[in-house]
Symmetry: C2
Subunit: 367 residues, 2 copies
Amino acid sequence: MAQQHLDPTDPTAGPAPALGSARVGGPPTGEALAGYLRAQATEFLRALRLHRETAPAAGNGTENPVDAARALRRSVRRISGSLHTFRPLLETDWSEGLRPELAWLSGTLSMEHAYAARLERLLLALHRLSGAAVFPAQSAATAPASPTGGPATTAATTDRGNLTVGAAKAGALLERQLTLARTRAHSTALQALGSSRFHAVADKVAVLASEVPLTPGAATTDLCVLAAAAEDRLTDAVTALPLVTAGSPYNAEALIHGLSPDPAPHPQDAPWHQVRLLLRLHRYARETLHGTDGPIDVRLLTAGQALDRHRDASEAAAAAASAARTPRIAPATAYSLGVLHADQRHEVEAARFAFQQCWQKQAVSTP
Amino acid sequence: MAQQHLDPTDPTAGPAPALGSARVGGPPTGEALAGYLRAQATEFLRALRLHRETAPAAGNGTENPVDAARALRRSVRRISGSLHTFRPLLETDWSEGLRPELAWLSGTLSMEHAYAARLERLLLALHRLSGAAVFPAQSAATAPASPTGGPATTAATTDRGNLTVGAAKAGALLERQLTLARTRAHSTALQALGSSRFHAVADKVAVLASEVPLTPGAATTDLCVLAAAAEDRLTDAVTALPLVTAGSPYNAEALIHGLSPDPAPHPQDAPWHQVRLLLRLHRYARETLHGTDGPIDVRLLTAGQALDRHRDASEAAAAAASAARTPRIAPATAYSLGVLHADQRHEVEAARFAFQQCWQKQAVSTP
């Protein structure tokens, strides 16, 4: 039974229903939601199969397991988001049972990529700060894990010729710490994918690919109302952001607690992270309504990218600060980590500015 | 004879001639230049007298010797600038002999203030980065030197309650190093003011207060041509600045060599420093033409302030980097100095942005 989800090519599953088909002759209802969820569940099963086929243990190295893992995370986020936004249309017990499991899976699967991307961001920044040109042949974030299960070494990490001793040592320290974290995340993800907990989730998603547990009233419920509520939550959260400050370049807000004795010195980032999540939910709700082939809102995409950059820089800055607390490091290493931390907090501020600029445009152009 | 310059109230010197008087009935000529130089020389003598009267050794502590020193530097810069811009109107031997002496004097007199201002800037930044509110009762830059000759302690330096250990230690290290430098600069300035070299300069300036050595053709030479040449030099230098980059917020250029192994990592600052000097010469040339009571060009003033901020932040960043090279400091101290360095380089970038914004406005509004 646990193998049921391994065959997305099962002819009985049929092709994913055309999205947005429920719009013909009226507003999108539960049927559009069911179509979207079935398509995402099918995507999940396809990605899972690809992931198993391309895993190093399978001896088939032609495809990239990183792409499969990304596709898996992508569909999990969309299913999870739809369950949240369109909760009233779905059977409560089923959706309330599945949501925490999807959150667990999404979190577990994203960590390896997050550590790899963080390391690459920090090493590129170290090179930029050293005035050295870097052209990584292959980025750490997209490089496949090496056959031993550990992440591959990137070009950015091997060229230390133009770095000062402090910058090189800081780079080596970050590489050590984040590679260790990445390797652990890799093992954790592998373990998770082999666990009975995962098999239970996969079974549920496999069922979802053919049968969506809608409530009796779902067929006549207008999705637009729930999608609008998701957009309102986003708009409200954006309104609460300090956008006037963010729109004033070089406001120096992001670094203001950079040397605070507070162990969690950047509570100022939290509302931005929250907007990032709400923006994503809004985007998925739009996909549910208009289909994944619907019009792409470039500004929404740009705003999302600015918030991703905000999150990445915020976490990279924290990683640099955390590395600086390693006992017995040389002062030159600590100095470089301080410069790096401030540089990434500067990036946080830049991302907020970029979001503000893009959001203002959106507000103006919306009729 | 060396005492001649000590009596600016000498009735034979008469009041400073009205500036711009040469403009009546034609363009400003050598007479306007002579009037400006006489006025600035008189200012110099007045400031020198005030400085001697208010020096701690004189036992008269009611006036501020810092104000006197500032007035002295102010007049020296203006005389020196005029000698440069209007060189063809002045006796060559005399002006070529005086200019390097004025440069020496200006440099010597400015160091104490520069170290004090740098320390204050860095301590305020440390407090800002620690998220602590600072309201210095009296700024380090304007506080009089203590009776023992050392600089007074500021409020900003005494409140370390909200600083981390690293930030507090970094602050203490900077305070120690920059206070030592300030005290040395104070002694050097005192020695300079008592030297025969200074008395020779002061004698020349005293003569200038009544008699300006113009060339025979100066009376009919139009100052505007030379002032325009000074403005052209400024405009050319501004054109060579990377203003497009500077006008793009968060371009991250200023920190790009922040961890460079190069011992002089910021050659990118030099053209901005040069523009700062040329802007000052342009401003003094305008004063010569229109008088010190003439219309104030607010944009020119704002641009100058942005460039002062650029210079101050650049030097503060260098001081933080230099302090981080102190042997045997704790990693936490070095980390704080790294954050501080990056923060000040961020300020450098912000100052360039401010200059660009202000300069663009100027270009648009000039007919």
